[in-house]
């Protein structure tokens, strides 16, 4: 089964949040965990990007592509890029993969490729 990253929909006013927060930024009325999870779309367009050369110690790669993507529902997220020549506004498609490895821990996040 394909892995997902979730947005959080306020049960009171329907506002979508990503990342998770405890209180809805629109209605500010929530009791604990009054959110439903909704998978984030995987298709979107590239808003900005960078190629990083000095990485934290855990990354055993020469460079790392990072970008902000506007998803097809209008929400944005940050992800890693597997794109050799990124361009602003290009169509991308995401997949949930391991984005950070630490001893005994794999962290999953969105990796975008050209659509």
């Amino acid at each position: 089964m394909a892995r997902e990253i979730y947005a959080y929909k306020c049960r009171l006013c329907g506002t979508l949040h990503y990342p998770f927060r405890m209180v809805c930024k629109e209605c500010k009325q929530n009791d604990f965990f009054e959110f439903d999870t909704v998978p984030l779309p995987k298709a979107g367009t590239l808003v900005t990007w960078t190629r990083v050369y000095n990485l934290p110690a855990q990354y055993e790669v020469a460079t790392l592509g990072l970008g902000i993507v506007e998803l097809e529902n209008g929400m944005r997220m940050l992800g890693q890029l597997e794109i050799s020549e990124p361009e602003l506004g290009m169509a991308v498609i995401g997949n949930v993969e391991v984005v950070r490895k630490e001893p005994y821990d794999d962290y999953y996040g969105m990796v975008f490729r050209a659509a």
Binding site: R51, V52, P56, A57, L66, I68, L78, Q80
Partner: protein
């Protein structure tokens, strides 16, 4: 609310310092206490971002107050990311303004070179959103780079404008003996010559090595006092007239327009409103140029220039010494260095130096009104201050 004055200032050299963290804070504090002419204080605030993680030391304020023999003064450390320094000044301001304390020592300190560069970069990156940013390997240079690319696309900022900020501020540091970088650079050397890509490689495209501040150790300190105490001490009457602080979303991508720094805009607006000043009244400013792009954008968001025109003002020399609004004449974070917890206090140190007329080769003639912007996170926690010389 009572008026609050800066009666004393102190600073250490910003560089790699082989001294214990608390001694760096104490050295700057001793200078500030001697400058003010006080040996006893009511309260100590120590601004620091990384001591538990980087220096394996907690409860830093207790160490500093002991080192300075200021017992039994109240003492607390304030951690607020790279805005820790001005946040501690705000706390000190509130303590004096409320009437609760008469003399408050505010020290800012960081010793980041105790760990290697990879660990220092990772330490600063821990201020990003843990699940939506940090796990991807985002660093502060990466945030600044992605921000810069959007700004270039929308407003026509180029790598040349960024390099111009770098040259201006790093060379300004040559007039500041406390500054970390003491090496003159030129546009030819870092941008135009065939060697430029070797001298000045990308750290996070489109940002290059000379677009980023150095990783520094250092401390700075202020003594804040009530008006009555300030008159008794007889130092130049430098008053903190405006304090503004604002926050924005933790994750940068979530902002309605990620090229707006709304927390900078609001913190500056509130500081100016409290002071009864407008941006055009400012004679000398310290903006938080951890990356060259930030000086350009902050100069717009705080109100010195319209949005999208900061780089044009830079081209005209308006932000250089002798321009209409000199910015970072002591080198800024780029030239002075950026020991994160110390920076907000060091910005105030520079402004007070200027308003006292002690700026020597970097003095802004006749400066009476100063402004600081201390930028935390990637724009999610910002403190702005205004300073006025009254006598």
């Amino acid at each position: 609310m009572r008026d609050v004055y800066v009666a004393g200032i102190g600073i250490t050299t910003f560089t790699r310092l082989e001294y214990p963290l608390s001694e760096i804070a104490s050295y700057a504090s001793m200078m500030a206490l001697k400058d003010a002419g006080v040996t006893e204080v009511d309260q100590v605030y120590v601004a620091n971002m990384g001591s538990p993680r980087v220096n394996h030391q907690t409860a830093l304020a207790s160490a500093v107050v002991d080192s300075l023999s200021l017992m039994p003064a109240g003492a607390a450390a304030i951690e607020n990311g790279p805005a820790s320094g001005a946040s501690a000044i705000k706390a000190g301001f509130q303590a004096v303004a409320s009437g609760m304390e008469d003399v408050v020592l505010v020290a800012g300190v960081e010793r980041m070179r105790e760990v290697n560069n990879l660990e220092a970069t990772d330490f600063v990156a821990t201020l990003t959103h843990p699940l939506a940013e940090y796990i991807y390997g985002v660093t502060l240079p990466a945030h600044a780079a992605m921000f810069t690319r959007m700004y270039m696309d929308r407003y026509g900022v180029t790598e040349r404008h960024l390099a111009m900020v770098g040259v201006k501020n790093q060379n300004a540091a040559l007039n500041n003996v406390w500054a970390h970088l003491q090496q003159e650079i030129t546009l030819e050397g870092i941008l135009d010559s065939p060697e430029a890509m070797t001298n000045n490689p990308y750290v996070a495209e489109p940002l290059r090595f000379f677009d980023a501040c150095p990783v520094s150790d250092g401390g700075a300190a202020l003594v804040l006092v009530s008006e009555e105490k300030a008159r008794e001490l007889g130092r130049p009457m430098i008053r903190i007239t405006g304090v503004g602080q604002a926050t924005d979303t933790h994750a940068v991508f979530e902002r309605e327009d990620p090229t707006d720094l709304l927390a900078v805009r609001k913190a500056a607006k509130d500081a100016f409103a409290m002071a009864g000043l407008s941006p055009s009244d400012v004679d000398v400013a310290e903006l938080h140029d951890a990356f060259t792009i930030l000086e350009i954008v902050e100069s717009e968001e705080v109100g010195f220039f319209p949005k999208g025109e900061g780089h044009i003002a830079l081209e005209k020399g308006e932000t250089a010494l002798g321009g209409s609004i000199p910015i970072n004449v002591g080198g800024g974070l780029k030239g002075r260095g950026h020991p994160v917890g110390a920076t907000g206090v060091a910005q105030a140190w520079e402004i007070v130096t200027q308003l006292r007329g002690d700026g020597e080769a970097r003095q802004v003639e006749g400066a009476r009104i100063g402004f600081t912007c201390n930028f935390g996170g990637f724009g999610n926690n910002v403190v702005c201050l205004t300073f006025v010389r009254e006598d």
